[in-house]
C-alpha cells in the first residue's frame, strides 16, 4: 500500500515556501512572489510602472512613493531592498519561521482533534505526565506472570469478567453488586439510574472510596470492571478532587450506562461535561500542564476522555492511571465480542510488555482498528460461509420478489406435471414410435 497522500503540507514544505516580506503572504514559488511584489508593492501608482524593487521607485521621484504600498505597517520602509526573498533581514525570517511553526502545530493539533490520530512519537498520553513509566524487567515478568495466572484461572473457572477481578488491596469485588453502593448512585439523578445496561457494566469498584476519601468514584462505562491488583491497574476514571466531582462519560457504546455523577456536583453538569470540542487540551488539565500541540486529541471512535478535575493523586498513582487509561478504553470497545476483561487484559499485557514504547498511541490506533475489525466482523458475520462472490447477471426482472421460484414445498416439475397439458392419462394404447430414422449403432 502506498503512502497515503495527505491533505496538508509538511512543516518543511511550509517553511520552504517563499513569502513576501511586505505583507507576509506566502506563495507557491518564487516567480509568483516576485510578480506579486511587483504588482502589489512595487507598482508606481501614478505611472503604473511595475518596478523590480522598492528602491527602483526612488529615481522616479515625481511619481514614486516614500513608502511601499500595501505593506504591513512596520514593513513599508524603503530602506530595505527586497526582491523576492532576497534582502529580508535574518531576524524577520526567524520570526516568520516561528510563526509558520506555530501555525503548523496548531493546524496539526486541530487535525488530530478532528481525526483522532495519535501524534507521532509515542510517549504522551492524554493527560499524562511526561514522566515515563519505567519498570524493571523483574517487575514486568512478575506482572506478566500474575496476569497469566489470572487469565488461566479465568479460563478454567469460566468466570464472568467481573469475577476475575482480583479481590484484594483494599478492593471489594463487585459486579452487579455495584448497585449497592448507594452513595455512588444518588437517587437524585433519575436520568442516570434508568440506564438499562447489562450488569457487568457496573462493576464499580469502590476501593478508593473506602481508603481515601478524595477519590470519589465516577464510574464510567469505559472504565468498567477494570481490575486492580494494586500495581498498575487503578480504574482510571475514578479520581476527582472533591471539588470537581462531576464527571460525565458519554456512553461509549450503545447500551452502556451513560454516566454517573458520583456526588452532587458543585459545578453544573453542562459546564463540565459538554465541552463540545474537547480537543487536545482539557481545560482542567491545561492548568496543570501547558498545552502541547501533541497533546492527545479525542479519538472519534473512543469515548470522550474524562475531564479530570486536577486530582489529588500522587504522581505514581497518576502515572498508573494514565498507563491503564487507554487499554481499558480499548477493551471496552472490543467488548462487543467476547469477555470484556479478557480483551482488556490482553491489551494490558501489551502495555506491560512494551512499556518503553509507551504504546498508548499504538493502543489508540489499535483500539480503533479493533473497533473497525469488530464492525467488520459484525458486518460479515451473518454470511460467513459465502466465499465465492455473488454473480452479477443481467437478466431483468421487475418483480420485487426475492425468490423467483418461491414454493419451498413443491418442485416446479411437479407443478408442471400437474398441468393439463402434461397430465398423464394412462391409456393402454401401447408404445408407439413415429417413423423417424433410428440408427441403433452407437460405437
Amino acid at each position: 500500500m502506498g503512502k497515503k497522500k495527505r491533505g496538508h503540507p509538511d512543516l518543511e514544505e511550509l517553511l520552504a515556501r517563499p513569502w513576501c516580506y511586505y505583507c507576509e503572504r506566502d506563495f507557491d514559488d518564487l516567480k509568483i512572489l516576485i510578480s506579486h511584489q511587483k504588482a502589489k508593492h512595487f507598482k508606481c501608482e501614478r505611472c503604473g510602472r511595475r518596478l523590480n524593487t522598492a528602491g527602483g521607485k526612488s529615481p522616479f521621484t515625481y511619481c514614486c512613493l516614500t513608502a511601499v504600498d500595501n505593506a504591513l505597517p512596520n514593513r513599508s520602509s524603503l530602506d530595505i531592498e527586497i526582491f523576492g526573498m532576497e534582502g529580508v533581514p535574518e531576524d524577520i525570517i526567524q520570526a516568520h519561521n516561528q510563526r509558520v511553526l506555530t501555525q503548523f502545530q496548531q493546524a496539526e493539533a486541530e487535525r488530530r482533534a478532528a481525526t483522532g490520530n495519535p501524534p507521532p512519537g509515542a510517549s504522551q498520553g492524554g493527560n499524562q505526565l511526561k514522566k515515563p513509566k519505567l519498570e524493571s524487567a523483574e517487575e514486568l515478568k512478575k506482572r506478566l506472570a500474575e496476569h497469566k495466572a489470572k487469565m488461566a484461572t479465568e479460563q478454567t473457572a469460566g468466570d464472568s469478567s467481573g469475577e476475575v477481578t482480583p479481590v484484594g488491596v483494599g478492593q471489594t469485588l463487585q459486579t452487579a453488586s455495584g448497585y449497592n453502593q448507594s452513595s455512588q448512585f444518588p437517587t437524585t439523578q433519575p436520568p442516570f439510574n434508568n440506564a438499562t445496561a447489562p450488569n457487568q457494566q457496573f462493576p464499580y469498584q469502590q476501593q478508593y472510596g473506602g481508603i481515601s476519601s478524595p477519590y470519589q468514584q465516577a464510574p464510567s462505562p469505559v472504565y468498567q470492571n477494570f481490575s486492580s491488583n494494586g500495581q498498575q491497574q487503578l480504574p482510571a476514571s475514578q479520581y476527582t478532587s472533591p471539588g470537581l466531582t462531576t464527571q460525565q462519560f458519554p456512553a461509549a457504546t450503545p447500551g452502556q450506562a451513560p454516566a454517573y455523577g458520583s456526588t452532587p456536583p458543585p459545578i453544573p453538569f453542562a459546564q463540565q461535561q459538554q465541552l463540545p470540542a474537547r480537543t487536545h487540551t482539557p481545560p482542567q488539565a491545561s492548568s496543570l500542564f501547558p498545552p502541547r500541540p501533541g497533546n492527545l486529541p479525542a479519538a472519534p471512535s473512543l469515548p470522550q476522555r474524562p475531564s479530570f478535575g486536577a486530582p489529588q493523586v500522587n504522581p505514581h498513582l497518576l502515572q498508573q492511571i494514565h498507563h491503564a487509561h487507554l487499554p481499558i478504553a480499548a477493551g471496552a470497545i472490543s467488548s462487543t465480542h467476547g469477555p470484556i476483561l479478557s480483551g482488556e487484559n490482553a491489551l494490558i499485557v501489551e502495555t506491560v510488555t512494551h512499556p518503553l514504547a509507551a504504546s498508548v498511541d499504538d493502543l489508540i490506533s489499535g483500539a480503533a482498528k479493533e473497533a473497525d475489525n469488530a464492525a467488520a466482523r459484525a458486518a460479515s458475520a451473518p454470511k460467513p460461509e459465502e466465499t465465492p462472490e455473488e454473480k452479477p447477471t443481467k437478466k431483468e426482472k421487475s418483480k420485487p420478489t426475492k425468490l423467483v421460484y418461491s414454493d419451498n414445498e413443491i418442485s416446479p416439475e411437479e407443478k408442471m406435471a400437474r398441468l393439463p397439458r402434461y397430465a398423464f392419462v394412462p391409456d393402454r394404447k401401447g408404445e408407439t414410435a413415429l417413423g423417424e430414422a433410428i440408427t441403433a449403432a452407437v460405437s
Partner: protein
C-alpha cells in the same frame, strides 16, 4: 480431442477475463418441441440423450465440428423427466411422468422402448450403474415422487431392491459407489452402493430452501447441492472432511432499476467436469458459471443465454458443455410463451475455463 477445433483455439486466447464467451456455442439441430428436462452424454461416445416434456427422449450424435444429428428417439406416454445412459453406452433410459422408466437398446435396432421400471408416481430421476455380477446387464436406479428409490435389474419386472425416503425424490446422482438422493423437505440421503439397501447417511440439506439438484464430485468424496434460493452447497460425505463444507450464493441479480431488491433464482443444474473436478452451475436466471470448489472461487461466468437453463451436462472427456435453454417453470405458467427459447447449446470447453488455476488450489 480437437473437438470444435477451430473455435476452441480462438476462445483460448480470451483467457484473461472472467466473463466467458458464448458466441461460439453451437445449437443442437432439431431440438425437442417442448422444454428440455434432462441432458445426458453417453459415457463412451459423443452422443447426447435429451429428455423432454414433449414425451420423447432423443439421442443426438455430435461430430467434431459441433454439428449434431438426431440418431434415435423413443416416446413415453407422459413428459419425460430424466434420462440416463448405461455404463457401456448401448442403452438409454428415460424416466417419466407416466410412472414408468423405458429403455431403448440402441444396438437392438428397434424403435420401441422396453418398460424397465414402474413406480406409483411419476419417476423423477434415473441412473444406471454397472451390475457387479453381470457387466452386460446394468442396474437401473429410479427415484420417484412416491418417495421411493428402486433398484432394477432391467430384465425383471419387479425391483430387486427398494429404499423408502422421507419425501418425494427430487434429484439423484451417482458416482462410482456414491449415490446421493435429494428429496423434498430438504432431506439428503447418501447411499453406499456396496450396501445399496440402507442409507449410509441422512442429513438435512445445509441449504435452507428446497433442494433442486445434487451432483456428486468427480472423485465421489462428496456432492454439491443446489437450491431454489440461488445457493449452492459443497458437502463432503465423510465427517473428517466436514470442515471443507461450505455454501455460496449464485444465480442472483439486482435489477438495474431497483437497487434494494435482488432476484434470487433457482440453481437448476450442477455438473462436475469429468477430468478436472471443477463444476458448473446453471440457473433460472439464464446464466451458467464454472467454479472451483477447492479454491472456492469462480473460474468463469457467462453472460445470460436468453432463457432459463434447465439442464446441463459435460461430455465424457469434458470438452463439450451442453446446456438446455428452455423454460423451467420457475415463473409459472404465465411466462411460458411461444417466444420462450427452447434450444440446446453446445459450448466448446477450453482447458482454461475449467482447469483449477494453479496456486489457488487449497489442500484439504
Amino acid at each position: 480431442m480437437a473437438l470444435f477445433s477451430t473455435v476452441g483455439s480462438s476462445t483460448a486466447t480470451a483467457q484473461a477475463s472472467t466473463t466467458g464467451d458464448i458466441s461460439k456455442d453451437v445449437a443442437l439441430n432439431s431440438p425437442p418441441d417442448d422444454s428440455v428436462s434432462d441432458l445426458a452424454f453417453s459415457p463412451v461416445s459423443e452422443h447426447l440423450a435429451v429428455a423432454s416434456w414433449d414425451k420423447k427422449v432423443r439421442i443426438y450424435e455430435i461430430n467434431d465440428q459441433g454439428q449434431s444429428e438426431g440418431k434415435a428417439f423413443f416416446e413415453h406416454e407422459a413428459p419425460v423427466l430424466n434420462c440416463c445412459w448405461s455404463p457401456d453406452g448401448t442403452k438409454v433410459v428415460g424416466a417419466g411422468a407416466d410412472k414408468a422408466a423405458r429403455m431403448l437398446d440402441l444396438q437392438a435396432g428397434t424403435t420401441t422402448p422396453v418398460q424397465v421400471a414402474a413406480h406409483d408416481s411419476p419417476i423423477r430421476c434415473c441412473h444406471m450403474i454397472p451390475n457387479p455380477g453381470n457387466s452386460s446387464s446394468p442396474l437401473l436406479i429410479t427415484g420417484a415422487w412416491d418417495k421411493t428409490v428402486k433398484y432394477w435389474d432391467v430384465r425383471q419386472q419387479t425391483p430387486i431392491g427398494s429404499l423408502t425416503c422421507q419425501e418425494r425424490v427430487y434429484t439423484m446422482d451417482v458416482k462410482s459407489k456414491l449415490l446421493v438422493i435429494g428429496t423434498a423437505d430438504r432431506y439428503i440421503n447418501i447411499v453406499n452402493l456396496d450396501d445399496p439397501l440402507k442409507f449410509y447417511k441422512t442429513l438435512q440439506s445445509p441449504l435452507k430452501f428446497q433442494t433442486r439438484v445434487v451432483s456428486c464430485f468427480t472423485d465421489a468424496t462428496g456432492f454439491a447441492i443446489g437450491s431454489i434460493e440461488g445457493r449452492c452447497a459443497i458437502q463432503y460425505v465423510e465427517d473428517k472432511d466436514s470442515s471443507s463444507n461450505f455454501s455460496f450464493k449464485c444465480h442472483r441479480e439486482t435489477p438495474p432499476n431497483t437497487r434494494d431488491v435482488s432476484n434470487i433464482y433457482a440453481v437448476n443444474a450442477i455438473s462436475f467436469h469429468p477430468v478436472h473436478g471443477t463444476f458448473s452451475t446453471a440457473g433460472s436466471d439464464g446464466t451458467f458459471h464454472f467454479w472451483d470448489k477447492d479454491a472456492k472461487h469462480r473460474l468463469k461466468g457467462y453472460p445470460p443465454v436468453g432463457g432459463t437453463i434447465s439442464s446441463t451436462a459435460f461430455n465424457r472427456n469434458g470438452n463439450i458443455f451442453a446446456y438446455a435453454v428452455s423454460y423451467d417453470w420457475s415463473k409459472g405458467y404465465a411466462h411460458h410463451t411461444p417466444q420462450t427459447p427452447n434450444k440446446i447449446m453446445l459450448h466448446p470447453v477450453t482447458q482454461e475455463e475449467v482447469k483449477p488455476r494453479p496456486g489457488t488450489r487449497k489442500t484439504r
